[in-house]
């Protein structure tokens, strides 16, 4: 069962990544907020202490009588007692100024200290500073710090709630990311399970949006296309092998049984043996061709590559097949476009010879007497290759892909001898050499071209 399970989410990469970033972001924010808070609170306290010092200094600058007057004036100006100034005697009893009481244990002189004073019926936080005058009296400068504390708390609360929001949003994001990834992974897993169970036509689901996973999925899907194609080909080939080998083997058996039944004279036996040998050779040739294609397709022969000129190979092929064409009454011509000396590629000469030979052989087989076959090599800056064209019946457009498959023979040519493996080998050899294989209508006839980009040559 592949539903999105909540317990699976924490294991997803997306979730973990989101969580990691949440942690990092949280830590960074905490440091930033902490710093801001510490700076702000420190700044406020510092400002206050400076104010105390200047206040104290201006009070001390005045004469004691003047000071008393200032104290009275301040008490009137500040009836709420937000910034009280008061004078106490040496024992800490109130003498003048704003109504206030000192803490029972006297704090050290000239140092800011926190204490409480009753205001509006309750104890309010104050901060103040004491100074002992020359007379022994104590002067108090203080300030109500309720507003300041409230601001500080507000700041702290704002930061805390902000952090909470980030945490909740981040966690939610991580869960959504994780669940999304889990959903896609589950889809992919299901698809893979189906494929493993034999449903080769199945493909991995790709989302509408792009992204890394989508790219991966597309590549895997292309790979699956290729695997499916190969599997179908293997199946097709197995069927074809069964057919194309069973037929001659059946004939072989029938012939031998017939000889067993009827043959009376040594001559008849000899004839039966000859037939059997011919059939066996045919079977072996088919096997040989199959193995050869397999070998070429496996790319095993690239080790035998050497630099060779396509035109030289073409000349050798022409030389080998020209008499055959002539004996069939077919005009055989070879040409190159003049720059053929540059038609050099890295390749296996025997394989290329065999491939081109196969093409020419096919052309000779299917071109009626009086027809023409042309073998042309070309080498331009953009394209180089070799082309075999004939004036035969051509290959119907619908069969051009099929002829490259093993054992395929165009239906109307079933009576022509051949294993049906020729073009498959040509295709395999072409692939091994990085050549494209094109089958076109030459109107009339057929044109098969093996070519590659000229630029690719320069790169090779």
């Amino acid at each position: 069962m592949f539903s999105v399970g909540l317990s699976d989410i924490p294991r997803t990469t997306g979730f973990r990544l989101a969580l990691l970033f949440l942690g990092l972001f949280g830590a960074a924010s905490l440091i930033l907020f902490g710093f801001m808070y510490w700076q702000t609170a420190g700044y406020l306290a510092n400002e206050l202490d400076k104010h105390f010092q200047s206040e104290m200094a201006s009070r001390l600058a005045a004469h004691s009588s003047e000071r008393m007057r200032q104290l009275e004036a301040r008490a009137t100006l500040d009836p709420d007692g937000r910034r009280p100034i008061a004078l106490f005697d040496a024992n800490g009893n109130w003498v003048a100024g704003a109504p206030a009481t000192l803490p029972s244990a006297l704090p050290p002189m000239d140092q800011p200290f926190d204490f409480t004073l009753p205001r509006d019926g309750q104890a309010a936080p104050f901060r103040g500073m004491l100074h002992r005058l020359a007379s022994g009296d104590i002067l108090l400068v203080a300030q109500d710090v309720r507003d300041m504390n409230r601001f500080r708390d507000l700041l702290r609360d704002a930061m805390a709630s902000g952090a909470l929001v980030v945490l909740v949003l981040g966690l939610a994001g991580a869960v959504i990311t994780g669940a999304g990834a889990l959903g896609r992974i589950d889809g992919v897993t299901q698809a893979i399970e189906r494929i493993v169970n034999g449903d080769l036509s199945r493909r991995l689901p790709s989302g509408r949006r792009g992204g890394d996973l989508n790219r991966l999925i597309q590549v895997v899907n292309r790979m699956l296309d290729e695997i499916q194609r190969l599997m179908e080909e293997v199946k097709g080939v197995t069927d074809d092998i069964a057919h194309d080998l069973r037929t001659p083997l059946t004939r072989l058996l029938a012939g031998l049984e017939r000889a067993h039944r009827r043959a009376a004279s040594p001559e008849e036996y000899a004839a039966a043996i000859d037939e059997a040998i011919a059939e066996t050779k045919g079977v072996l040739a088919t096997f040989g061709a199959l193995l050869r294609i397999a070998e070429v397709e496996a790319g095993a022969r690239q080790a035998g590559f050497a630099r060779l000129n396509l035109d030289t190979v073409a000349a050798d092929v022409a030389e080998l097949y020209e008499p055959v064409a002539e004996s069939k009454g077919i005009a055989f011509s070879r040409e190159n476009d003049g720059s053929a000396h540059t038609a050099e590629i890295a390749g296996d000469p025997s394989l290329l010879f065999e491939a081109i030979g196969n093409l020419v052989d096919n052309a000779i087989k299917f071109t009626p007497p009086g027809g023409r076959i042309k073998l042309r090599t070309f080498s331009a800056s953009d394209r180089l290759g070799i082309e075999v064209s004939d004036t035969g019946p051509g290959i119907p457009g619908t069969e051009r892909d099929a002829v490259l498959r093993r054992f395929h023979r165009v239906e109307k040519c079933r009576h022509t001898p051949g294993s049906g493996l020729g073009l498959s080998l040509v295709a395999a050899v072409a692939r091994l050499h990085g050549l494209h294989l094109a089958i076109e209508d030459a109107q009339p006839g057929c044109r098969v071209t093996l070519w590659r980009d000229g630029a690719a040559l320069a790169a090779a």
């Binding site: 050779k281 095993a300 022969r301 080790a303 035998g304 080998l320 055959v324 296996d348």
Partner: protein, 227 residues
Amino acid sequence: MAKVLVIEDDRRSSAEIAAALGDHGFDVECAYTGRDGLLKATADKYDAIVLDRMLPGDLDGLGVLATLRTIGIEIPVLILSALSGVDERVRGLRAGGDDYLTKPFEFVELTARLEVLIRRQAAPQRETVLRVGDLQVDLLTREVRRAGRLIELLPREYRLLEYLMRHTGRVVTRTMLFEEVWGYHYDPQTNVIDVHIGRLRRKLEEGGLSQMIHTVRGSGYVLRGSE
């Protein structure tokens, strides 16, 4: 009579090869392991060795070959192998093999190739003129005459003829001709070589002269002087 040592582990294959070579007129000795083959090859004098590439045990075909060559035994060796790759062939020849035949093969191919190997060993060719019956080939001027009459041959026809003449009286197969004369390694399967031989034959027999190139049933030709 040429003596041939067959080193092949499969008893039935070995028996078949021995029978075919015996029928062809060779004196055949069999060995079934690399070690045994090596012992026989060093103890006795053979004209050629047919060596299976894949032998069981610690000494495989190429190992036997390498050992033989190391101790200075230069008997021609024909390697038999189920491995058909061009690389395998090159490896076999590089290890000191003189020829390489892929299984399954036809016995006419095996005997024809062995004949060539043994003859090459026996008589290195130094002559400048080849003569078979009334046919004469001057290797220096490349002039071909039959019964005194000059015959014009295309370069490839000349090389075909030269190869056939160097192996007069012996079967050469289509594959051998294709390898030697065209220089490509594969079995063309079709009758293309026949057509070339046919042309050569017509030129040689022009004017009602007797047949010299005979087709051997199966897969080869033989050139014989007209008696």
